[in-house]
């Protein structure tokens, strides 16, 4: 498509020079190292006196594995938070600043179609997000060697899920910021994606677990669940929860695991693909309608 490559290339150059992204990246990078080193120090202290931990009931190997699980579990949360922050930052700036500053006047007067412009912007935003979160994940993987490794596959699966969710958030902010102020767009997206969708997903999970007995209410939540984007979840979350329950000596029960989201199935993944297409199309529609 004529011009989309140039739009993508220079959007990436711009993104790489934005201080807010650099700040989020540095915070994420420092946070992951601090997490790893902190837990390692905790391990060193505890392993110097293994009998002092867990009333002496835990042997060093089990404790080592426990720390590793704890690290991976914190890592997942940290990656998810920073991926979302980066998604919001890219979504708020990639198109909005061109439209707000008047740069779009010069760009749109060139022989570039609005479709090529939107494609270039969305492409650059996705590549930028994957690059930044990918770098954080790479760092996380290196830090995992502090704990001897072994859970890298879990990290990969969760990383893909985190990026997939962040892409949806970014596309929503991108499309909204073409219509309204970018801060408002971020607030609306947060309410829609993190609050409303979160509540519906949790209630659906609870209904699925059989806590809600009324079939009609369950059906309502089923319908609502298929009206909002689904946050993808890898099998790592449930595997970790299962392992932690076992490590802590707790009895593994279905009820305890019911509160942990199940891994996303083909239906959720297909729904994710559909929502990505819908929100990308919305970005194009908003750019196409925009008069500058």
């Amino acid at each position: 498509m004529n011009g989309s490559g140039a739009v993508a290339r220079y959007t990436l150059v711009e993104l790489s020079r934005r201080r807010i992204l650099l700040v989020f990246f540095v915070l994420g990078a420092v946070g992951i190292i601090a997490l790893g080193i902190g837990l390692k120090v905790l391990y060193q202290v505890a392993s110097s006196n293994p009998r002092g931990f867990g009333n002496g009931a835990v042997d060093p190997a089990t404790f080592d594995h426990f720390l590793e699980l704890l690290f991976v579990s914190y890592l997942f949360q940290a990656l998810a938070v920073f991926a979302l922050l980066i998604a919001y930052a890219i979504g708020m700036t990639a198109i909005y600043h061109d439209l707000d500053s008047g740069a779009a006047v010069s760009i749109f007067s060139k022989p570039v179609s609005r479709l090529a412009f939107a494609t270039g912007k969305v492409g650059a935003a996705v590549v930028g997000l994957i690059a930044i979160v990918g770098l954080l994940a790479l760092e996380a993987r290196l830090v995992m060697f502090l704990f001897g490794g072994g859970l890298e596959n879990a990290l990969t699966g969760q990383l893909i899920a985190v990026m997939a969710n962040a892409i949806v958030v970014m596309l929503i902010v991108l499309s909204l910021s073409t219509w309204i102020n970018n801060i408002l767009a971020a607030v609306v997206t947060f309410i829609y994606f993190n609050v409303i969708t979160g509540i519906i997903t949790t209630l659906h999970l609870v209904a699925d677990a059989g806590v809600i007995g009324n079939t009609a209410v369950r059906n309502v939540f089923d319908v609502l669940y298929w009206l909002v984007p689904h946050q993808l979840v890898s099998s790592a979350v449930r595997d970790l929860a299962q392992a932690e329950i076992q490590m802590s000596g707790g009895v593994q029960s279905n009820q305890a695991l019911a509160s942990v989201p199940a891994p996303s199935g083909p239906g959720d993944i297909a729904w994710w693909v559909f929502t990505v297409f819908v929100f990308a199309a919305l970005v194009y529609y908003a750019v196409r309608r925009r008069q500058v």
């Binding site: 220079y10 006047v105 010069s106 007067s109 060139k110 022989p111």
Partner: protein, 255 residues
């Protein structure tokens, strides 16, 4: 010779309750012609040129740009547009902005290497390595003109091109317009600087409240013994409500 741009009975308003920003404007522009669009603030000049550049959609009427409608990217291949208050992606440098726009214009690598340094030198930005966010208004205006001529356009639309320029910059823009006219480029100039328009334009249209009050060659619009400023003031004042020129707290004040 086919007109470069034909505007027919163009109308535009921004909200349903608003008065027409552009109301029945009609004109055409031939190759090598310099056309001046004049009018007071809010007359609709910028709306007209933005519709020609495909940035705004008219409510009614038609525009033909190089034989097709301006929304078609192909029509904008030979258009150079320097907007009023130009701005650019703020974290890029001038050379990157020109490279970006050269890519959008479809210029190949060799042509980009040749044109970009020359265009930067013309704009006086060849030694400037800061990002756009650190530019003054005048520097952005220079870059606005530079990006407009980068594609060697057949129609150059300049919206208040010299508003933020120093006298040397103004002289350079005048020389540019003269040179482009000689080579057959059509110029559409929006400006408040009537002396400038008088110097470079062959034809003018005076707009007020979205309507063309008078249009013709410079000789037709400006009678002998008069000047463009007198004609402009008379026409515009006759077509807008009378107002006091000074606030009473200034005019009534005793020294």
């Amino acid at each position: 010779m086919a007109a470069v741009v034909t505007v027919q009975n163009l109308r535009k308003r921004y909200r349903r309750r608003d008065p027409w920003a552009v109301d029945g404007v009609t004109f055409d522009l031939q190759p090598g012609q310099a056309f001046g669009l004049l009018g007071p603030n809010g007359a609709g000049k910028t709306s007209v040129v933005k519709m020609i550049a495909g940035l705004l959609r008219p409510d009614s009427g038609s525009i033909t740009l190089f034989g097709t409608e301006p929304g078609n990217p192909v029509a904008r291949k030979d258009l150079g547009f320097s907007p009023e208050d130009p701005d650019f992606p703020k974290f890029l440098r001038a050379s990157e902005v020109l490279d970006y726009f050269a890519s959008l214009l479809g210029l190949d690598g060799a042509e980009r290497k040749r044109r970009i340094p020359e265009t930067l030198a013309f704009a006086g930005l060849d030694t400037e390595h800061r990002q756009i966010r650190q530019y003054s208004k005048g520097m952005k205006q220079r870059l606005g003109i530079a990006q407009a001529i980068l594609g060697r356009p057949k129609l150059l639309v300049l919206d208040e091109p010299t508003a933020d320029l120093d006298p040397i910059g103004r002289r350079d823009v005048r020389a540019l317009i003269e040179r482009l006219k000689e080579s057959g480029v059509a110029i559409l100039l929006n400006s408040h600087l009537l002396s400038e328009v008088e110097r470079v334009c062959d034809t003018v249209a005076i707009l007020a409240r979205g309507r063309v009050l008078k249009e013709g060659t410079m000789a037709e619009v400006v009678p002998e013994g008069s000047n463009l400023e007198d004609v402009f003031v008379q026409l515009v004042e006759a077509n807008q409500p009378q107002r006091d020129h000074l606030p009473s707290f200034i005019s009534d004040a005793t020294p």
